[in-house]
Symmetry: C2
Subunit: 213 residues, 2 copies
DNA sequence: TCCATTTTAGTCCGAATGGGCAATAATGCT
DNA sequence: AGCATTATTGCCCATTCGGACTAAAATGGA
């Protein structure tokens, strides 16, 4: 009579991983799964499994599904800031047109490396959960504030046609994200891998060539 | 002792709705829910409820969740064709630049009216289900084939900068869709309703002004 | 009129979900 | 050495999921 092996309940002898590494593994997995399935569609068990853990541990570290979502968003903002910081420092000493080029190049590279970002925006922008409010306040507003001044300068100097800024911002950021957000579509329709360096460069070039003439 | 009202099992006396109307109600609800939650996240019960029916009826009409998805996609293509047909007829007699203007105007209006479309593309482009293959073949390929010829003519005539077509197509279509796919974000960040006629016109104008100079 | 077909709703099932909680090994403070 | 805290797992719960099946009213042809 083979009894089901009564694995003892408590903490496993699984030591060696630094404390912070567990939290980060969970947050990375959460960004991936949330971007793929949306908030409701994502399951704590899938997120935990993607990080190689049990779902109770996710709840231990982040209390709630909602709490995990907020922590994952803060993590995403930190990733973005880290990625853009250097380019932002380079750009601030450049004249407007070059500054724009530098920022677009950096942003396209960021979109290619973190397609979860744009996907999460698409997911969370539906319905009127409090999550969309959080995103608008903590992510969209600062981003757009920074872009608005630069775009107005470019219009004043005649490098881009005069136009209300908001449509322009959405045109530019969506254009920058597209081939990476839709990477699977491009792969299925063209057999191309848009995350390659050559594709990133080609996309940046096409976008800058269209906007600055 | 109030017995739970034993609603008889069978078909309710709910007559009067034309047969085809039930199917269409289900398909419209399916497009909405699929675009909001993705394939796995969407529940037949939610789709049925959105159409005012029981979930068994959805399975009666479309057998499967996968079958419903395919039927909903065909329905979406029919909606798109119906919306674009008239503009396409107008455009074919026009010179290239005007033809481009006509097509962009029509496409932006379509994106505003059917934001589900772009949202579904974002959802289904993740992972490599057979659904992304279906979409690439039945939706993306014909769309891009039609656009490619027009864009090459515009480049030959010097109206847009010379560039590989694929990046250009993704830039243009993402730019056309953005404010409507992200309608909730725009509402939360700016308090604006991008589905209004004025917003649609402003967006079209900004896009055409940037592309054709 | 009768009866087969079509269209609808209700119910049961096994699996998965978010959350609550107990058990317990590791760690670190005193 | 002893003890509180931290980090982790296993298990239980009510709810919901997709799907299979049953019950029955409406419809239309014979």
């Amino acid at each position: 009579m083979s009894e089901a092996p009564p694995r003892p309940r408590g903490r496993p002898a699984r030591n060696d991983r630094p404390v912070e590494e567990t939290r980060e593994a969970i947050l990375s997995a959460a960004l991936d799964i949330f971007s793929r399935r949306g908030f409701e569609g994502a399951s704590l068990r899938d997120i935990a499994a993607a990080a190689g853990l049990e779902h109770s541990l996710v709840r231990y570290h982040f209390t709630d599904k909602a709490g995990l979502w907020r922590a994952a968003m803060s993590h995403l903002i930190a990733l973005m800031d880290a990625h853009m910081l250097e380019s932002w420092r380079t750009a601030r000493t450049q004249p407007p047109v070059e500054r724009f080029r530098t920022m677009v190049r950096a942003y396209v590279r960021y979109c290619a490396r973190h397609p979860e970002h744009a996907r999460i925006m698409v997911h969370e922008t539906m319905g009127d959960s409090d999550r969309v409010t959080w995103i608008a306040e903590h992510i969209i507003a600062p981003q757009h504030r920074a872009l608005t001044r630069l775009l107005e300068t470019l219009m004043d100097e005649g490098h881009i046609p005069r136009s209300p800024v908001r449509p322009l911002i959405y045109i530019l950021s969506a254009a920058a994200q597209a081939p990476f957000t839709l990477a699977g579509e491009v792969r299925a329709a063209y057999g191309a891998d848009t995350s390659s360096a050559a594709e990133i460069e080609a996309h940046t070039h096409a976008l800058l060539g269209l906007v600055l003439r």
